[in-house]
């Protein structure tokens, strides 16, 4: 399976602060990938590096087997929607399409016009007068009508109301169904991503904490509840992600490939949101935590 994005030890520093540290990733193609993490975690930095708007301080990143934005051919294969959806407020919707047609040799004019019509946008309307949801849809249209192989969206639904958010995701999924494009979208809301993503990357404080297919992640993480127990005394092969204790009871979120055999535990599946939140919370008391070294 080929990788659409490969990062090795990628790091980016602004003056004193490291926005991204030691990021090693391999994103497979044909997925809808969710990039999730709190504000300031480095999601935007990673995506901007992927489209060549930033250059790495350390390490390297390859997109579709080439450095990002190497030339017009590479630029044509990646579609991008930046944070806060920049559009030319003085230009009309139709002007944006004309711009897309002139700046992209692979522009599919019919696709763009059909999409605009289906969305009910007035081609003569200036982009500055559109609502946030409409601007997001316009930006998405410009990004997809050039028929890219990879679509990168930086917090596309962050400032949209729930209806606009749903409509955007509907449109995006239609595009995926039709064109088979790989999508990487970032959000700090997991609920947004849960519906549409089948691959997840969790970025916290400029580092990758978790990455993998959603099915696999859900299958290998379990919520264990049982009598108060020191996490050290778990069976080998289990990695405790987070733990909380009362005086009587222990609740652990563990990651393991093997079945849980200890009968003292009640084993339950974990929802995606709870899973990500567990990785986001500070290191638990007791052994292990996020060091990730199974015993």
């Amino acid at each position: 399976m080929s990788a659409v994005l490969q990062a090795d030890g990628l790091g980016k520093r602004y003056r004193r602060r490291w926005a991204l540290t030691d990021c090693t990733l391999r994103i497979p193609s044909g997925r809808v990938v969710g990039l999730v993490g709190p504000n300031g975690a480095g999601k935007s930095t990673l995506l901007n590096l992927a489209v060549g708007l930033l250059t790495p301080t350390r390490g390297r990143i390859d997109v579709l087997d080439a450095p990002p934005a190497l030339g017009p051919a590479e630029l044509a294969r990646v579609g991008f929607m930046a944070q806060e959806t920049p559009t030319y407020s003085g230009l009309s919707v139709a002007d944006h399409l004309r711009m897309g047609a002139r700046l992209n040799p692979g522009w599919d004019r019919k696709l763009a016009e059909d999409r605009i019509a289906q969305l009910g946008l007035d081609p003569a309307q200036r982009a500055g007068k559109l609502s946030a949801g409409q601007r997001a849809q316009l930006a998405l249209t410009v990004a997809v009508a050039k028929r890219p192989e990879l679509l990168i969206l930086d917090e596309p639904v962050a400032s949209l109301d729930p209806l606009a958010r749903r409509q955007f995701l509907q449109g995006l999924m239609e595009v995926v169904a039709e064109q088979g494009v790989t999508v990487v979208l970032s959000s700090h809301l997991i609920a947004d991503l849960e519906r549409v993503c089948d691959h997840l990357i969790v970025l916290i404080a400029s580092r990758v904490r978790l990455a993998g297919d959603v099915d696999q992640l859900l299958a290998t993480h379990h919520l264990l509840t049982g009598p108060r127990r020191d996490p050290e005394r778990l069976q080998a092969g289990q990695q405790v992600v987070s733990a909380s204790h009362t005086d009587r009871q222990s609740t652990l979120l563990v990651r393991t490939d093997e079945p849980i055999l200890d009968p003292a535990w009640t084993v339950e599946p974990v929802g995606l949101e709870d899973l990500v939140l567990a990785y986001m919370s500070p290191e638990p008391t007791g052994r292990g935590g996020l060091t990730g070294v199974p015993r």
Binding site: M173, E174, V176, A177, R195, V196
Partner: protein
Amino acid sequence: MIEFHLDTRSGVSPYRQIVDQVRRALRLGLLNEGDQLPTIKEVVGQLAINPNTVLKAYKELEHTGLVAPRPGVGTFVTATLRDGSLAAHGPLRRELVRWLAKARRAGLDEESIEALFRDAFRAGAEQDIA
């Protein structure tokens, strides 16, 4: 054409829900042989879920022999889960409604009715196996 809906809080995975909804529709006669299932694009355009999920559901239905894809056209129903029992659905349903009214008159609340039903259902199933 059948329309799917998604219950995000049910704990059942989306692909499973789609499979179940197709099977239910087949059983109730809402889908017949030769009917076309919605295209993947239509489904994701309505539900905003990953197309692979729908693909997985359709593949499983195909695997169990209920549907078959026709390349370039869509996915069509090839078998039915309906048995001759559909005719019996009407009277059975009426009887069930009458029984429910009786149970309520006897003072059972919803939770008790459900518990009673499940208990009897399980007992009956065990009897069948045994």
